[in-house]
């Protein structure tokens, strides 16, 4: 384990099962002069839905493609289902299911033909019919891939990942580029797969997706895991359950006049930061803190132009750990 990493929960797998679904130790990968993965340790138990959350460029895709056997790594240990890519590649490919970012299936094949092709690669698996049903593509069975919507194409990619009845499923940014409705549809599908007891490892840069789907989340930044645990455990890292965001009138010129010390002196306020004129406070006792914030600002002769509060999310965890926003990058 690296020093900067915050470990919140011992993985239950060590007790329940001697071979976790995924075990990474000291994983490193460098592309030319860019360190994509910088000493990664992860353990995912069987039946778990595990999320890799981080901004673009954090190393999520490199990590998952190393796990999928698509990218060679420089140093460390990678074990899936107790097997190693060097010695058990053929068996591993039979036992894992993969959905890659931006795979384009041939436009002129139908849904059914595409799935029949992928089914033929596996020694055992589920019938093509069943994969179509699971992905809710029954009505599109004979439609060509080129006519499908973005969400339907993504469900087809999921179905292709499922035809081999995998023990371990990798989903790389499964909802990137989808509209909100298609995204919820896909989330429901992942929920079903979780309930069926499959082990799922997914990457995402949407914190609400990680919160909604994952039992445990590892937050990645610059090729390292900076925190991992369940969502409540991670949110507790912020030190307060609520976030207050506000801006003051004429903030461009009067920014400097806000005395941050007056704000952080208010009981229940844990931290203060400013990002592009928007002030963020992490607050533990919202009901008593908010009136005092108003009072403090009025005392400084400032007028609020924006004011809102929300419960702390994984986004706020990322911000408090890195000082940057997830979606900025």
């Amino acid at each position: 384990m690296t020093d900067s990493q915050t470990v919140l929960a011992a993985s239950p797998s060590a007790i329940q099962n001697p071979a976790p679904s995924l075990l990474l130790r000291g994983l490193r990968k460098t592309f030319a002069d860019v360190v994509a993965v910088d000493g990664l340790d992860l353990e995912v138990a069987r039946g778990e839905c595990f999320g890799l959350l981080g901004p673009n460029g954090a190393g999520k895709t490199t990590t998952i493609e190393i796990c999928e056997g698509l990218t060679a790594f420089d140093a460390g240990t990678v074990e899936l289902l107790g097997l190693d890519w060097r010695t058990g590649a053929d068996e591993l490919r039979q036992r894992i299911g993969i959905q890659l970012q931006e795979t384009q299936f041939p436009d002129k094949l139908t849904v059914e033909e595409t799935l029949r092709l992928f089914r033929s690669f596996y020694r055992r698996g589920i019938p093509v019919e069943e994969s179509i049903r699971t992905a809710q593509l029954e009505e599109k069975r004979r439609s060509r891939v080129g006519t499908l919507s973005g969400g339907q194409k993504q469900r087809l990619a999921m179905a292709c990942a499922l035809v081999g009845d995998p023990e371990l499923l990798f989903l790389d940014e499964p909802t990137t580029g989808l509209d909100p409705q298609a995204r919820r549809h896909l989330w429901d599908l992942v929920d079903q797969l979780k309930q069926a007891g499959r082990t799922i490892i997914l990457t995402t840069h949407y914190m609400e997706e990680a919160e909604r789907l994952c039992d445990r989340v590892a937050i990645m930044d610059h090729g390292r895991v900076i925190a991992q645990g369940t969502t409540p455990q991670l949110v507790a890292l912020v030190g307060a359950e609520h976030i207050v965001e506000f801006a003051v009138a004429g903030r461009d010129t009067e920014d400097a006049q806000i005395d941050a010390a007056l704000l952080t002196a208010i009981p229940g306020i844990q931290s203060h930061r400013v990002d592009a004129g928007l002030h963020q406070l992490s607050v533990s006792e919202l009901h008593t803190a908010v009136p005092r914030i108003f009072a403090a600002l009025t005392a400084q002769g400032l007028h609020l132009s924006e004011f809102r509060t929300h419960s702390a999310t994984l986004e706020d965890v990322f911000v408090s750990l890195t000082g940057r926003n997830l979606r900025d990058e």
């Binding site: 698509l70 490919r93 094949l109 029949r116 092709l117």
Partner: protein, 343 residues
């Protein structure tokens, strides 16, 4: 589905075949275009009956003497008009009557004009009373196999085999790579050799239809001869197609984008379209580039196809072009397997 239909090699091959059939442009270029081209060339270069040559003469007597010849059509015109008609190509020769002689005005670098000179002179000399020293008769032959269409059909066949193999293999692979489909397939348990094999199998299936349609058309419409053994012709077509498939694979083995593949493909094929004797004999190129021309796979393919179809040569007699094609099959295939970019 039975066991066979569940096999990945069958599925990969069937998908490849389906995708090709669902691409209307591919169907046009592979099946329709060569037939249209053969039809066009066959019509343009058909063997016409001997031409009637237009000539001019300055007196009515001369014109009458010349018009009696079926090979000539003569008109009366004065010298100025006749010179203009010569210059504009309306007549090939002008016969000018002077008081005690006849002068022929014509371009001696034009073979038709030289023919006209011979005919006109014979007619005028005969009309003036000359007798032939010996009796001569004609026996006419129109041999199939020596026509331009007979020459060009094996050339077009070779060119078509090259195009369909290279585009069919190269483009599909690079497209799959660019769309990350290749990466997705490699992440599955699919055996990689089956992926490449499926291209060759679907190519061979397509080949049967493609060659049968084109040669059938050439046979029925133009009566193009097949003097060699048909199964050896089939073997030559398969060998040609596989050699160009290997070349297509080589072009596709590293290219990441369709644009790059397209450029490479043209770079490889363009010299062969020009040098390999599709439309005219490759032996017309100067001697110093002949070794290069002979080593090109399309030259070898077309030489072998012409040897089989037009001269009835067997594989033993065609050992040199067959050997060249085999070399073009083995070397690019081995190189591309070693350098193939699967992601």
């Amino acid at each position: 589905m039975n066991r066979f239909e569940r096999s990945s090699l069958y599925q990969l091959t069937a998908v490849r075949f389906l995708l090709l059939l669902r691409e209307p442009e591919a169907i046009f270029w592979i099946f329709i275009f060569p037939i249209l081209l053969a039809a066009g060339l066959g019509i343009a270069f058909r063997n016409r009956p001997a031409d009637v040559l237009p000539v001019g003469a300055t007196t009515i007597q001369l014109t009458q003497a010349l018009d009696a010849d079926k090979g000539l059509s003569a008109k009366t015109m004065d010298e100025a008009a006749g010179t203009h008609a010569l210059a504009t190509g309306n007549i090939l020769l002008l016969a000018i009557q002077s008081p005690d002689a006849v002068t022929y005005k014509f371009d001696d670098t034009n073979p038709d004009a030289r023919t006209a000179r011979l005919l006109v002179d014979r007619d005028l000399q005969t009309a003036a009373g000359r007798h032939d020293a010996i009796q001569a008769g004609n026996q006419l032959v129109h041999e199939t196999g020596s026509r331009y269409i007979d020459f060009v059909v094996p050339g077009l066949l070779g060119m078509n085999l090259m195009g369909s193999a290279m585009w069919g293999l190269g483009f599909a692979i690079v497209e799959a790579r660019q769309k990350k489909l290749l990466k997705r397939m490699v992440a599955s348990p699919m055996p990689r050799w089956q992926y490449l094999m499926s291209f060759l199998l679907s190519r061979l299936a397509m080949l049967v239809i493609e060659v049968a349609a084109f040669l059938g058309f050439a046979r029925l419409t133009f009566g193009v001869p097949f003097r060699g053994s048909l199964w050896q012709l089939g073997f030559l077509c398969v060998l040609t197609s596989l050699s160009f498939s290997a070349l297509g694979l080589l072009v596709a083995s590293r290219a990441r984008t369709m644009e790059a593949a397209s450029g490479l493909m043209n770079l490889v094929m363009l010299p062969m379209w020009i040098l390999s004797g599709v439309f005219f004999s490759a032996s017309r190129f100067p001697a110093f580039i002949q070794p290069v021309v002979r080593a090109l796979p399309l030259t070898a393919a077309i030489d072998a196809l012409r040897g089989n179809m037009l001269q009835g040569m067997n594989l033993g007699q065609l050992a040199v072009p067959v050997g060249i094609l085999l070399a073009w099959l083995v070397v690019p295939f081995a190189v591309s397997l070693r350098s193939f970019r699967w992601k």
